[in-house]
């Protein structure tokens, strides 16, 4: 069956292209998911000063490196968007590939970090701080994985010069994933 796109999709009563509108609404729903999780964490953290001890076993340096990796990947996502705006599909695809590389680096570092922690006995059940730590970081990592996969498809399309407007959409999403990490990093690693 041909994927005939309905006329509805081509309309824009608000003047904002529908995909961009949609991604903002998706982000709104994501914000409350992470907001709920982090809010719950914060409430507990305030109620349990002794968690600082557990938090001191997080690998702050590794977290910092990962922050840098994600920020860089967001930057290449911006460049990809610019390239796409100019209609340079191949270049956009290349830049997206860099972003995906950033995502993969992030995940590899994360696995390494978790391995150290788990080996040291800080598993998800060790105490409720670690439960929050793995749940929040894990949920974020899932978003990184999902973003990387979608970006892969968009990069392939972009390489062939198709659906270039999607480069911007995934970029917005990617910045969001980045911002979530910017919240997670100080809350989980730095606050000791």
């Amino acid at each position: 069956m041909a994927h005939a796109r309905p006329i509805a999709t081509t309309r824009s009563a608000t003047g904002i292209p529908t995909p961009r509108l949609a991604v903002w609404w998706i982000l709104a729903s994501e914000v409350v998911i992470f907001g709920g999780l982090l809010g719950a964490y914060l409430m507990h953290r305030i109620g349990h000063p002794e968690w600082a001890e557990a938090a001191s076993h997080t690998q702050t340096w590794i977290g910092a490196v990962n922050t840098f990796v994600l920020l860089t990947s967001s930057f290449t996502a911006v460049l990809a968007h610019q390239a796409a705006e100019k209609g340079k599909g191949k270049e956009a695809a290349k830049l997206l590939a860099f972003t995906i590389l950033g995502a993969l680096t992030f995940l590899v570092i994360k696995s390494y970090e978790w391995t150290i922690e788990i080996m040291a006995g800080y598993t998800i059940t060790a105490n409720t701080f670690w439960s929050f730590y793995y749940t929040a970081a894990g949920l974020h990592a899932l978003h990184v994985i999902a973003g990387a996969i979608i970006m892969g498809f968009i990069a392939v399309d972009a390489y062939r010069g198709r659906e270039l407007h999607r480069v911007e959409i995934i970029g917005i999403y990617w910045h969001f994933v980045d911002v979530v990490w910017i919240f997670l990093f100080p809350l989980l690693y730095i606050a000791k």
């Binding site: 069956m1 005939a4 006329i7 509805a8 309309r11 709920g36 409430m43």
Partner: protein, 573 residues
């Protein structure tokens, strides 16, 4: 960008003409991306779930009225089964009947048609939404048959009971229930994106914000409410699932967790959720009442603004479910204030509906009867909410049958009366045939009268101290007397009568669909755009060249400048 859009459009216009005539059954009805087919899928799944939820109510009401008997069609009800039945009855009725029917089915069906579009903006996401929903229904039903039985910790699923198989004795059932609910939320998030963006962007040329039929507004406001409130609960559900399966301690006080956290996350969603289902029902009845009283809505903007105000306020009332749950008693006062305040916008909405009747010309067709009954019955549910919102009175009423009767007097009008209203009103459009009015009225009275006989006794029982989720009251001598049992039996017998009358409904649907009188485009002489196309509408809703343009609001009935008493939105002039 502009270039690509135009190109796409050209391509689509061609795509439409020869795309959809020769599809097989599977691609046409199972994997279709057509919003009308997806609406039907939601509708029939919801209807089936409604019958299951009603069956459950029948089984546990029989147990309550005649404890210990072998219920025909089920057998003896054990305490564990009883808990599982009420839990899943509540969950099914809210998440698998009210939401899929009022929001997903009618939202899908009506939004594109009423705003003059050929489909949703993201048809494939739409299809995905239904598929996820369908899987969630299967998971839920499966959970009833696993080892240990279905989850029985109430639809609110409070930990620690829900967090550990040691406590609830339904390890697997509890996890499957939770997964099913979470999947259902995901389905509605996906659906919501579609509703919101479609309404925002894909309106017919000329259709301004205040020309949108109220039901579309309400479904979209409900979707936004849902989207903004469900997130924390989704996070909470992940945490609860980890507690159940990985043995973390998020909700375990012995390990630094807090069981009350779940209650906050649940009700932060749970209260907006009740307005998520209320608003679409109001939208439906408002539209139907305008049509059959041939009146312009008494204050279009008022309804819209009060709906938004209700939505905003609903985020600040959640702890009225937790007055006596161990929260700080000073906090209860804040929530009493917000809870009482919410009566203002809702009262205003209802007053507008009543005022709309003034100066009208009212015909009591079946859909109109349902719409009027919605208002009459919902008022009871609404005002009894005030008793519960008053913290001092809720000390006594909390978790009694008074609460139960309160919310059945809101939910039943919404989910059952509202659904029947919408179903009978849009049936001609959906299936191209008129429904039989006599059968429709028999079904109406056969549902409404028993309904009151079910739940008025439950108010009385609640005031008499009967508490919820008890499979057999004989252990509580004060509420096990014969007067109490008489009331329970009245409720159960009324339920049996009501269920019997549902047969009339299904008979009517089948017969009307099969042999009913042809409906034509606009049998009710209504203004909104869905009535300007064929019944049932073809794929794409209108021929491409005839997609409507809008010239006025949806409620121009009895306009002095016009001969006829209605003025369709798409007529120039």
């Amino acid at each position: 960008m502009a270039e690509t859009l135009a190109e796409v459009q050209k391509q689509e216009v061609h795509g439409h003409d020869h795309d959809h005539h020769d599809q097989g059954f599977v691609s046409k009805y199972i994997f279709s991306t057509d919003h009308k087919i997806i609406a039907m899928q939601y509708l029939f799944t919801g209807m089936l779930m409604g019958v299951i939820g009603g069956y459950m109510a029948y089984v546990f009401r029989m147990q309550l009225a005649f404890p210990g008997i072998s219920v025909p069609g089920f057998g003896q009800v054990s305490p564990g089964e009883y808990n599982s039945l009420i839990t899943n009855h509540g969950s099914i009725m809210i998440f698998w009947v009210a939401m899929p029917v009022l929001i997903a089915a009618f939202g899908n069906y009506l939004i594109p048609l009423m705003i003059g579009a050929d489909d949703m903006v993201f048809p494939r996401i739409n299809r995905l939404s239904f598929q996820v929903f369908f899987i969630s229904s299967v998971v839920l039903l499966l959970s009833l048959f696993v080892e240990g039985g279905g989850f029985g910790g109430a639809w609110t699923s409070y930990p620690p009971l829900s967090a550990s198989g040691d406590y609830n004795l339904t390890q697997l059932g509890a996890s499957l229930w939770l997964i099913a609910v979470a999947l259902e939320f995901v389905a509605f998030l996906l659906g919501g994106i579609n509703f919101i963006t479609t309404l925002m962007n894909s309106r017919a040329p000329g259709m301004k914000a205040y020309d949108i039929p109220m039901v579309c507004w309400m479904i979209v406001i409900a979707s936004i409410l849902f989207m903004l409130s469900v997130g924390p609960l989704l996070a909470g559900a992940v945490m609860l699932l980890f507690d159940q399966t990985l043995n973390t301690g998020f909700y375990d006080p012995a390990r630094g967790g807090d069981p009350i956290l779940w209650q906050h996350l649940f009700w932060f969603f749970g209260h907006p959720e009740v307005y998520v289902v209320l608003l679409p029902a109001i939208g439906i009845t408002v539209d139907v009442m305008a049509t059959f009283s041939r009146k312009k809505l008494f204050g279009y903007k008022l309804v819209l603004y009060t709906a938004v105000a209700t939505g905003v306020l609903s985020f600040f009332v959640w702890a009225h479910h937790q007055f006596i749950a161990g929260i700080d008693p000073r906090m209860a006062n804040v929530f009493t204030v917000t809870t009482l305040l919410i009566s203002v916008p809702i009262a205003e909405m209802l007053f507008v509906m009543i005022a709309t009747l003034y100066g009208g010309s009212i015909t009591l067709t079946t859909p109109m009867l349902w719409a009027l009954a919605f208002l009459a019955e919902f008022l009871i549910g609404g005002v009894t909410g005030i008793f519960l919102g008053a913290s001092g009175a809720d000390i006594y009423f909390h978790d009694t049958y008074f609460v139960l009767a309160h919310f059945h007097y809101t939910f039943f009008p919404i989910a059952i009366i509202g659904t029947f209203c919408a179903f009978t009103y849009w049936f001609p459009k959906m299936f191209g045939k008129m429904m039989n009015e006599t059968l429709g009225k028999i079904h109406f009275w056969g549902t409404i009268i028993p309904f009151n006989f079910i739940f008025i006794p439950l108010f009385v029982l609640g005031m008499g101290g009967q508490h919820r989720r008890i499979y057999n009251f004989e252990h509580f001598p004060e509420i096990a007397g014969p007067e109490y049992f008489q009331l329970r039996q009245i409720a159960t017998i009324a339920l049996l009568i009501m269920l019997a009358f549902q047969v009339v409904f299904f008979f009517n649907v089948v017969m009307s669909w099969w042999k009913g009188e042809k409906a034509g485009k606009n049998p009710w002489k209504a203004n909104t755009l869905e009535w300007t196309t064929e019944s049932p509408p073809p794929h794409g809703n209108w021929p491409v060249e005839e997609l409507p343009t809008v010239y006025r609001g949806p409620y121009e009935y009895g306009h002095p400048d016009r001969e006829e008493d209605y003025w369709p939105q798409n007529l120039p002039g």
